[in-house]
Structure formats: structure tokens, C-alpha cells
Symmetry: D3
Subunit: 313 residues, 6 copies
């Protein structure tokens, strides 16, 4: 049994340790990343059981990813390993202190082979939440079917479906994305989107009407992620806003996924909409104040660290 | 005008800085590699003009490779950049202090697009040496034709052709390799091979008859690389042996290409066969005593460093 | 259900990255270690289910250890966390390239609180192997009782008991150790010892009679670890020897525990005594060829790496 | 002879080099720290003779601390080395870019053995300043008596006594602290406290009345450290305020001790109260703009660096 | 043929990787720097051919500099190597996060030997721009004559002359500088200066009248670099201002040279004065957002990175 | 009062952390070195009081050197600081794993200004040993006079004079060296030389007659350092040999000075000639098994580490 099931691709990540163009001899650091994996880790650190479904190679990168997820308590028993394909990889240049540029090695590699039969129906049906993103269906046709299959199973079993739009223009066109995401959002209970991403689904508008328009497509909860401006949610017809929790940011990547993890963990905890947004904001700030996409995510007892009063120690 | 032309693939390389399995957070270092590029660098450092032909992406890795080759004085004016494909990449796990395992990201990427029209006929015809390896024809059918085209142009212009067998079992079968390498060796003047590689072309035998058998296929110079045992050459019917130049080895990769670079540079210098083998051995030892495939290669004035007597400074 | 259960202390380890006396500003690296944890990791990497029982603090070091063990697939569900005591720590000075000196922070800290009721009787009784060391009973009186309790439960359930003598002179006197280890060895089926350690239990003698004398105390398998000289075992009355598998050693610590892990994993696989010693020797060599106590341990498919012939790639 | 004598505990410090939870393989750096040692270093760098009294082990950490203090010109001739106890150690997790969490290994270790007979009466009596903190009496009963003894000797000899309240809730209760600090403040000439710390001694109030209330207990100089808000002092009945000197902060730890060092050094220089606060503020800003507690402290000729006008070089 | 010729000194640079006083064991990084080399690199990265004239030693530092310049596509064919003198070197202490202090090893070393006959008259006469700085004439009398010679050749050939005042008080007195720079500015078409530097040439005044006064000395373009306040230019009698492009600054050194490179590259591109200032501002911001003087400089396709709107990827 | 006085130059050292040619971005590490300083540190670590006389700049490198020497307990109270000259610096390329090449920045810098009046006559006359090397007189004419002055004062006071020939061909010719070293050896009681260095003073011969010939010039103790072959000494007419103490060597530089330090420390301890050579050999081996010239030198209680039997811990 599990609280949250998610499915997607996780890749090795090689990141320069200092800003500047890539050059021979440059120091880099290896880790892994994946939007859905980050959500699973965040939810797990906050005390819930999470399962991640995906494919990795039998190479060292694939082992690293599975070890890393296992370290976080994630159930990876449904992951398949592809003996003949490398695990995907991302090479991140920190071009300046503020700007990162990535080259992706993922096309036709292990992660893109995700297929409907990877989706353990029993696992999905017994979970409390299914979380999907707009990245997984863009990986290829079998992955797309896998996501639809997971959604179908979840809906049939009354499992709450969460969708993060997460549009990746390198993977598919806006038209393709709009079609597929249109299907998915209609079957989702919770939807997350940035302001521009939302325009794949609804008319351009300010955050509040955007959230309301997203809800009109089906979800009862729509959250617009506004980056430095915080977030805005429409939940059961009510509008809420949440400012960013201020921290020194050292790595902006992963903030959105951390935000989703916090929201969903608070949802699993039975938190109110306002509590969900607060936890989401805290998680987003933890993520950006530590290098790496998921490494900084908080455990339950750490949530107060960013917001607590300083006390005499 | 140039002394040596070579063509092939150069890739970004990410190498763990310490032995051990890949793990999240592991320190790595970025550089680039490629058998033909290593030969070009080695020949250039020893005072000759070298041109490298190949394709890289328009990504940061591609720029890094071109910058790196330019730093070494290599002519890269014939390199094409592929706007839509990433530059190849190799992820090297130093599994133990002695064993490295690599995952390759090269299939269908920029380097594999090398094609016959990338071969500048005028450049090849005006060179003194064309160096090819068994890796390039294994990259794909257009690359294979490009190598054949270069060889044909060189032969017609009386340019010496050097072939390093360099068999890569991940890229093609022994049968495919034997066929193509059989064609190439017949058009080569100089051939380099390890003992096992040689068996793609000639019957299994000890090094001396192996070298002689290789010469019987066409080349007047056949060099068998024996690793720690040094090397053996058949040149114009004469047999020569050369022991390894002893050094502390910190990274064995690249030794074979460094050896070839030393041999060819001495050849361009008009050195005797024995001098070519000595320079080759020195270059091989420089390569293994420095991390990276090509970084340790010697400049002309450094050749004496490994063999010279210690003097009072 | 599990294949191997072990119990002991795991500590944070801070090791200087370069040789030399400790000095302000020196680079160090953090990891964790523990003889029993290393055995559990080694057995798990070779494909068996392993459980580790012990206590760690609720501090960051304790979380690191549990994450690290979970990453390796170790069952840590029986670990207790001590809210009021820090997790033990070892500060390792690499005084020269060959000599390490450690300061221990473990006295009266979390790990020493291990107690009999931490031993899950059902888990032990259902396992195939219980592995104990001479370190755990030296941690304190409750830990000593915990080890005896585990042994008693295992014997009653017919579970094979493995004992690594692992004498630590900083923790207890030779007399105390001889008494307690005397009790334990009489209840063990497999015993591992270095030549000097063995003298706590049997008369000084060369390795072969030492092994036989150890067997006369109860165990059917006695293995004498001889470091660079390999190992010698008496198994069911037969004597076997196994040389070291040659590698470049970069960190000798952990070799003995890796050896035990290999032996026990092969035992769980149903290997012959000779196969157990070979696997043990390979694991020991993997351990010393990678920094850290357990980081270098091999997975099943990697065992051939150190002994396999080089093949053309 | 010496200008300033102080006594306390100095510990090894292991700090993660990058933000994020502790994890196996994480890079760390070793140094040492101690509130009183930081004050001694700061005063010494500004040109005065300082003596530090304390106990460290005979281990490598103890040697590192003594070497480090000697490098700074501190007189450590009265330090005793405990052969049987490790030197204390602090493991610092930089949980986020802004928040540090430390685990302490100090209980019953070498530093806590400080005792009255460690206090060289002649040295104290001949000094110009005795500096004590609220940390040392919290280390244990002999340390507490040592502090009282030092204060008694100083008072008898007319030596100025400086007290930094430095309340550490991990070491003792507020009640215990209030009692002991109450005694000490009544014998002090200068007292430093944060706003919350001051409430151990006086009624809650804004900074200005707090400083005045502290003076009513005995000291003629009371300085309230306000962090980012600078500081406020009551000196001989006059109130002064001093804003923070703006810098890029990279490590907030040690700022308070650096502030004290600057104040006391200016006091030894015969500076006016305003000059003392300025030097204090500059020292605090130096400390936070360099990693480590004391490493960034300024030498006399560097004081102008933070406040000076940029000049054409 | 070349677009821009410049001449000066390039030195090895050793920079501490972390803030704090220099101490034994401190991590440092090696690179090279030189105001004119930075301008050449910046102009080359933006698509123009640049030549750098200077002298370096035959030591490893000299080779490093030439390799580095070649990597950037700079023509270094006119560089002379001094066999008997080391290449200059700068040791940079990052005293705090905000303040760097350098020790220079350049007096009477290779770079200072630049002489008039190093100036390839044909190369200068065929260029579109000659760029000089106030550093080169301060290196010594032959270097001073070399600069005058280059200016004379350029003027005679109708080549645009650009002068960056770049006053270095360590190298010469204000009087000497004023005399020589007075000569140079009268022969320049473009002049760059900071507000204080400008006072070597014109009366103290606010930026606008300063720029106009500089133009009255001869140049048709005068640019006053105002650091965080951006820049102001007088071009053909018109005044323009340009704010700084906001970025996270990690290394302020090199910003002024980067600014000049951007201005001159846009000039070579035929940009309007406003376009030149924008490109200049962008280049300055790239430089400060990456460690090193020149490493962060942008390529043509990267210019939009700092100013572009974030797009969905 | 002091046990040993020495005088010479100490320089900042920048060393590449990994083998390979210098390249932009290469990681380096800063420390300091100097033959006489190494001897002083070695003697101090072994329990004797040592004074070092020399000049350093007022720059950060000079402060680093003085802090470093003070950390080692060396008396630096006679060191003068040169306000207008930088401290010398050495840039060390580790060209391969086995070969280091250094560029020196020392000519006319602070250290070369050592002069006779820097020699505190009272300090020298009250010492037990004066140690000089052939490097210091090669720094310049005032330094040469300073060495002669120190020797004269020592001889007059009956202080034992130790001379390490330490010929540096970059600093002076063999003829100049032979003349000056001829003078010094005639006034020395102990002389150290390598086999080739000895030929500056005596006829070429094998080690034993070389040592005897050196003694015929005046010294009663002559030690020939033979590197990997150990050492040979003639003491009061008796010949002794000492093999090298085997260790893993990671940095050969400094071994000779460490050897001298060990010999002199044992001499101060009243050790026999054989004991002096053993201590010398141990110190040499400590030095090479740690990076840096002096960092690895042993303290008294560590001497047994390299030669002691391994014990059960």
C-alpha cells in the first residue's frame, strides 16, 4: 500500500559546480532528477509512502537513481530496467550565476520506454493520490498511453488525480500538448500550472480567473504557481493566495516540483487549502536554498526552520 | 596546408574524480575525448600542423570541444555544427582504482552525422598524413563512406595513410568490422593494432608474426601495441621491439592513441623506425601519468622529461 | 523475512581527503561506517536481503546513516532513534598515505544504547544467518546482552550464527574480550579472526592449526584473515587457502568486513567453501580499491571485474 | 605578560562545504571554534597579546587547535592536554543557504575538564583584561569554579572583567544560567548580551533600557548586540548606537564573538566608546563575510577595507 | 587580416576559491588575465577576428596563456616568448566576500619586455580597430614606445584607435600617467574612463561634462564607466546613458574590460551608439556573474540570455 | 634561548592538485616552503626550540608564512618584513604523476634582502646548533654575507654548525657555488650533500670515500643523501649506512630537508650516529608520504608510526 503513486522519467544530472561556460577540466557534480521523482521524495520526506514508476537502464546511472530513491524511502519495486538502453542524462551548464542551460540526452533512451503495462493497477487503485505531469506523456507514445492508463485506473478506483502541467517545449509542440493535457486535466482533481502553461488549456488571463477557468475544466483545485510572486489557488470555488517564503536562493531548479510535493503532502495530512499552500511555499523555498532539484526538501520536523522565530540556543 | 588530417568523433566526457560507484553528489570532471582528436593533439604538441574533421552540436559541449582543439593549435575550420543534435557524451565511472566503466551517449547524435562531403578533398590531398581509426566507420553509414572517401583521396594524392584498428565491440559486430577494416588496411601504409584487434584481420599468432601478417595485407609499417609489454613493429620487413617507458600510471585511457600520436609525429619528423617507437612509447607513458585521455601529451621540449637523467637544479 | 540479520553500531565518519596532519581548513569528507553495516551492505549488494539492528540519534548523522542503509536495500525497520544522544562519530586523520589514525566519539552515545529488546526475535528466528562481531558486546552491558540474546534466539531456531572476532582494544580489555568472545564462539557456526585476534580464544599458532583450534571450540567453519597474505579456512575438517586478489589499494579500512560479506553471501548462495573464499577475497579487494569502508563493495554482476580477462570493447 | 586573558573550550568543527542535508560522500571542511578563542584571535590580530586557557586532548584535533591558536600569536602555554579524552567536536549541517544546525560532541570530553588550578593567577593578575563568557561555566562544575576563580583573581588585581552572556540552552537551564550569570555580571566591568539573553538578568525591555538595566547590576559598560540592527551601548551612563557595517554575509556564525573582540581591542587601544562600537561593528562584518567563525577577523591595517573609499589602483 | 589588434601584458592569476586570508593549504585556482586580452576575447566571442600582441615566458604559465587565447580564437602569431624570464603572475586573496587584494609579480618579467618591433605594422594597418590601455605604457619604457608606435601606425593607416585609460597607481605616478595618457587620448577616436581616472585628463566634473571634456581632447566617442550606476557616453556631441543590466555578481573583476569589449564589438558590427552601450552593459554583467575576468564573456547567441523574457521550455 | 637557529628564504608555493600541464581553471593549492624553514619545523615538531631568520613582504603571502611558522612553534621574532617587495613565490606544475616543474618568482624580492644585520648575534651565540644551506648564499651578496656572519658568530661561540650543500643551479654557477660552499664547509661541523652536490667540494667518488673526503675538509660528520638508496655517513671516522624507510610516496619534494631535520633533532637529543640516521630516514619518509614539503613531518610520538608493528586496536 502506498499514499502516492507517480510515474515518469528520472535522469542522471551533471551540473557544473561553478558558473561559467563549459570548458575542459571544469568541476561538475553528479546527481539525478525528474519532476515526478522530486514530488515523490518531497511527499516521502514529509511522512507519506510514495511509489515511483519508471524505467532506467542497467547502467551505473540507473543504479544510482534507484539507490537514491530507495534512500528516500520511495517504493521502486515496480521500476523496470532496460538492459540495452542508457539511462537519460542532463548536462547542466551554469552559464551565469543566474542562468542554467541544459543539454538533454533522453531521446529513445531507457526512460522513454515507459509503457502501460508498467502501471501496476493494484498499486494505483489502492493509493490515495496519483500524481502525473505533462512531461511523461511527451516522452513518447507508450509513455503517453501509460499515463492515460494510470489516470483511468485511478479514476475508476476513486483515487484523487493530481496533474502538474509542466509543459516542455523541447519534447512536443503546443498543439500536441494542448490536446493531451486537455484530456488529462478533465480527469484531474488537482491541477498545477504556471501562468504561461495555463494558456495551453485556458484563455490568457490574470492568475485568479486563470485558476477559476482551470477549475471549470474539471478539477476542484487549481493552483497557479507564480514563482517569486508566490502562488494563487482556487479550491472549491474559493480563492487563496500565498506569498513566497523568503530565503537565499542558490539553485532555482526544482522549486515548482517541491511546491507540488508540499501541497500534496499537506493534502494527504488532511490540511486545509491554506495549510496546503503554506506547506507548498515552504517546500519550494527549501528546494531553492540548496543545490539540486530535490536534495533540499524538508522533513516534517524541519518545516518550521524557515519560518520559526530564532531562539536562544 | 597541414601535416596530418584526421576525421572522427569527439565527445564530452564526464569522469568521476574518485573511485567508487556512481552516487548522488559524486564529484565529477568534464573534458572531451576522441581517439582521432587525441592523435591530432599529440601530433600538434610535437610541432606539426594537424586538422581534425568531425561534427559537433551547437550546444555548450560542442563549443567546449572546439575551444579545446583550438587551444591545442588544431585546425578545426572544417568542423560542422549540428544545430538539432546534442554532442556525444561519455559518463565514466571509475568503479575501482583500476577499472573504469563508461556509458556512451553517441547513437544518432551530432558526431555520427559525419559524411563524405565533410571531407575537404584539397586539405586531405595536400597533407602529409591521413590518420583514420576503426571507430569512425562504425559510427554509421555516412561516416563509413566519409572514411573511405578520405582514404581514396589520400591514396590518389600519394598521401601516407595511417590506420589504427581500434575495434569497438559496442558499435559493430566483428564481422562488419572485419569487412570494413579489411578494406581500409589494404589501403593503409601504416597500421596499428592490439593483439586481439589484429585477429579481425589476420590469424591468431604471437606479436611478431602478427605484425608481419598485417604487412602482408598492404601496409609497409605494422605496429602491435602490447600495453605494459611495450610494442613491436614490422617496418619494411624488419622487426623492432620497444619496452614501455616506466611511469606511475594514474589513468590508462588514451595510452594507445598517445602512442600513435608519438609514432606519427616522429614519422613526420623523419625519424627512424626505432625513433618512432621510442617517441610513441614516451607519449603513451605521458598519457597514463596524467588524468584524461590527451591532457598529459608532451610537447617537443618535454619528451626528455621521462627518460632524462636527474640533474642538480 | 530476511536472509541475514546483524546488529551493532554505525557511526558518522569524517575523513581527511588528503594525507597529512589535521589542520584548520583541511578538506574532509563525510560518510558512515560500522563493521556489521558493512557486512549487511555487502550481502545486500550480492543479492540477499539483509537487516541491520542498532540505534542512531535523531540528529542529521542518524538520518544520514539510515538513508545510506536504505539506499543499499537494507531493512532498517527495527532501528531505534535516540532523541537525546548524538550518533557516534569517527574523525579520521590520514596521517600519511599509508597510515590512518581515528578519534572516536562513541562512548555513551546513541549506538551504545543497543539493548536486548531491540532484537526482534521473530526476525532473527526467520533469518538464514545471524552475523555478530566482537565490537557490539564491547559497547556496553545492554549491548552485550543484546548480542547474547540474538545468539540464543538464533540457536534455538536453527539459524546459522556467524561471528567476526573483531577485537577493539580501545573498548575493552583482553580479559573481558576473551571471556565474552569465548561464550560467543561456542555458539557460532562460522568464525572469522585475524591471527592475533585468534589468540584471545586459542593458543598462538600458525594459521592452519589456529583455524583448526577455533573449530575445536564449536564452529564448523573457521576463517583466518591474513591481510596481504590472503586467508585460510578450516571447513568441516578440510583446510583451504585463498590468496589476495591483486588491486591498487587506496583505502585499506573495511577490507576485513568486506571479506566476511563475500564469504557469507556465497554461503547464502550455496557456494562451496572454495567459492566462499574466492568471493570473500574479491570483496576484500573491491573494498580497498575504493575510498570508504563499504562504498566499493561489488554487486553480483561486478564480481568478475577484478578477475576477468580484458576484452576488446 | 599579556593584554587579555580568556578561558573556555575550543572544539574541532566539521562543516559541510555546501548547503543541504548531510549525506554519505558530502564534502566537509575541518577547522576549530570556541567563543573565547575567537575573541582572543580577534584581539591578537588587532595588535594585542592574548592568552587562552583551556584543555584539549592529546589527539590530532587538540594539536590542530593549539597550532591554530599559536599561528595567531595566542599564548597557549597554560593549556593542559588530556591524554584520555578526545577534544570536543561540532558537526555542522548547513541545512539551507541560511540555516546551520550543529551536533555537539563535547559532554565529558577534554574541554569540560577545565578546573580552577588551570587558571594561572599571576597571568590573570598581570593582564589588562579578563574576558569570560556564559558558555564556560555551563561546561561543568569545575569549569564553573574556574571561571569564578579567574574573576575573583582579576577583581582583586584591578583587572577589567568583560562578560559575554552567550547563553547556550543545550548546556544548562535558564534558571541555572540566571543564577551563575547573575553572579558574574555583578563582578564584570563590561557586559555583552543579545536582547533575549539579557532577559536572563534583567526585565524584558527595549535595547536602551536593557543596557541601562544591565549597568545597574554593576558593569559600567553594557552592550546589546542587535544582529542586523547593529548594536547599542550604555557606557558610563551615556547611550550610543552603531549600525551594522554592510557586507555580503556568507557565514553568520562567529559574528557576536568578533564584535566583542573588536570592542575589547579598541578598549585596549584606549578608544572612545564610539570608536569601540565602530571597531566592533567592523569586526563583526569581517567575520560574516568569510566562512568560519574566526578566519575572517581583520588585522589592524585591514580595518579600513570595509569602510574605505574605493581608490584608483 | 584582423578586426581588432591590441597589445599588452597577460599574466597568470592564482585566486583563492573561497573568501578569507591566505593560509597554508588554501584552495586556489589558476587562470590568466590581462585587460587587453579580455577585450580581445570579448570581441572574438562576439564574432570578430582579434589579435593580441605581447610577450610571455617559455614557462608553463606562458604556454597556458597562449593556449587559452588560441582556444578563444585569438590570433597570437605575433606573441614573442622570453626564454629567460618568467611570465607575470598575480596572487589574489579574496579577503572577504566583497574585497579582493592582489600581489603582483610582473616587474621586469616577460610581459614588461614588450617593445616597438613587436608591433607588426602591417597587421595594425590592416585592422579596423586598435585598442590600447593605460596599463601597457606603464609597464616600462619599451612598452611605452610600443604603444606609441602602434598608435602612430594606426593613425597613419586610418585605423580607429580605442583607448581605455585604466590607470594603475602601482605602476606609475599620476603625473607620469597624465603625460602619457594625454598624448594617447589626443590620438584616440574612442576613449573609456572611470570618473576618477578621467581626472588625469580633464577637470573634475560630473559624468556628462566629463565625457564632453574628454571629447574636446580629440576622441569623437567618450564613455564614462560608472560601475553600478551604468555608463554615460558622449558620441558625436550627443549624450547617452545606459543603466547596468542586473545580475547576481560573483566576481567584479574584469567588468570594465568586458564593457569595452562589448562596446567595440558592437562598433565593429556597425551598431548605433545606443546599441554599443547596451552590448557593453550586457558584457559587463556577464563578466561579473561568472568567476574570472574573461571567462563569463558572452557569445553572440548568448547576449539575449540576461535580458530575454523567460519562456516556457 | 633556542636550540637551533637557521636563516634563509621562505616562499609562497602554488601547486597543482592534480598532474597535468597548467591550464586555465586548474585547481591549485597554496602553501609555503623553504629548505631552512622545513628544517626548523622538523626540529620543532620533534621537541626542540627553533628560530628562523629571514625576510618576507608585508603582503598576504608574508603573513601566511609567519602564521605558518608560528603555528609550528618556530620563533620568528627576528624576521623582518619588507614593505615594498612581494614575498617570493613558486608555481609548481605537476607535469606528470612523477615529475614536478617549478617557476620561481624570487629574484630581487623580499627574501633576497636578507642581510648581515638580520643575524641576531646573541641568538646565534646562545643556540646549540646553527643550520645553513647552500641556497641562502646564492640569493644575493647581502644574503651571502649574512650566512658568513652567522657562521662566524657561531664558531666563535662554540655553536655547532650544520651545512646542507643544497646546490641550486638556477641561482648561481658551479664555480661560484664551489667557492662559497668551500668556505662554509671548512667552518661546518656537520655537512649534508647528495652525491652530485658533493662533487662541488670533493672529487667524484662512491658514497663512502665521498663522505670521508668531505670530512677531510673540516666537518666531523658528513652525510651523503642517496635518495631511494638511503644514506651513508662518516662520523668521527666511522662509516654508517641507513636504508630508506619504505612508504607510499606521494610528493618527493622536501625529503632531503626532512632528513636533515631528523638528523639534527636526534643530534640535539644526544642520539648516537646510528640513531641520527634512523630518525633522519623516518623523517624523510614522513615527508614524501604527505603532500607538501614540510606538512608531513612527524612529532616525537609519531616516529614509531612508520616502523612499528601493527597491533590489534
Amino acid at each position: 500500500m502506498t499514499d502516492l503513486v507517480t510515474l515518469g522519467e528520472a535522469m542522471a544530472v551533471v551540473t557544473a559546480t561553478e558558473p561559467g561556460p563549459l570548458a575542459p577540466g571544469k568541476s561538475t557534480r553528479l546527481t539525478f532528477a525528474g519532476a515526478e521523482a522530486t514530488v515523490a521524495i518531497g511527499v516521502s520526506r514529509l511522512g507519506h509512502r510514495a511509489s515511483w514508476i519508471g524505467r532506467v537502464g542497467t547502467d551505473a546511472a540507473g543504479s544510482m537513481i534507484l539507490d537514491g530513491l530507495r534512500a528516500e524511502g520511495i517504493d521502486v519495486s515496480r521500476v523496470r530496467r532496460e538492459p540495452s538502453l542508457p539511462t537519460g542524462l542532463m548536462l547542466r551548464e551554469r552559464r551565469t550565476a543566474d542562468h542554467t542551460r541544459s543539454a538533454y540526452y533522453r531521446k529513445d533512451l531507457a526512460g522513454s520506454r515507459l509503457a502501460p503495462h508498467d502501471v501496476d493497477e493494484e498499486l494505483v487503485a489502492s493509493a490515495r493520490l496519483l500524481h502525473i505531469t505533462g512531461i511523461t506523456p511527451a516522452l513518447g507514445s507508450t509513455a503517453r498511453r501509460a499515463v492515460r492508463h494510470a489516470v483511468t485506473v485511478a479514476r475508476a478506483a476513486g483515487v484523487t488525480v493530481s496533474l502538474d502541467v509542466n509543459y516542455r517545449s523541447l519534447l512536443w509542440s503546443k498543439d500536441d500538448a494542448a490536446t493531451e493535457l486537455g484530456f488529462l486535466v478533465r480527469h484531474a482533481d488537482i491541477v498545477f500550472a504556471g501562468p504561461e502553461e495555463a494558456q495551453l488549456l485556458v484563455e490568457p488571463a490574470p492568475p485568479a480567473p486563470t485558476a477559476q477557468a482551470l477549475c471549470s475544466l474539471g478539477p476542484r483545485q487549481a493552483v497557479v504557481k507564480l514563482g517569486a510572486q508566490g502562488s494563487l489557488a482556487a479550491v472549491d470555488g474559493n480563492l487563496l493566495t500565498q506569498p513566497r517564503v523568503p530565503v537565499t536562493a542558490v539553485d532555482p531548479i526544482g522549486a515548482g516540483d517541491a511546491f507540488v510535493a508540499g501541497y500534496l503532502a499537506a493534502h494527504l495530512d488532511g490540511g486545509t487549502p491554506a495549510e496546503r499552500l503554506v506547506t507548498a511555499a515552504i517546500c519550494g523555498s527549501f528546494a531553492v536554498s540548496v543545490p539540486g532539484d530535490w536534495e533540499g526538501l524538508p522533513r516534517q520536523h524541519e518545516l518550521a526552520l524557515l519560518t520559526g522565530d530564532d531562539v536562544i540556543r
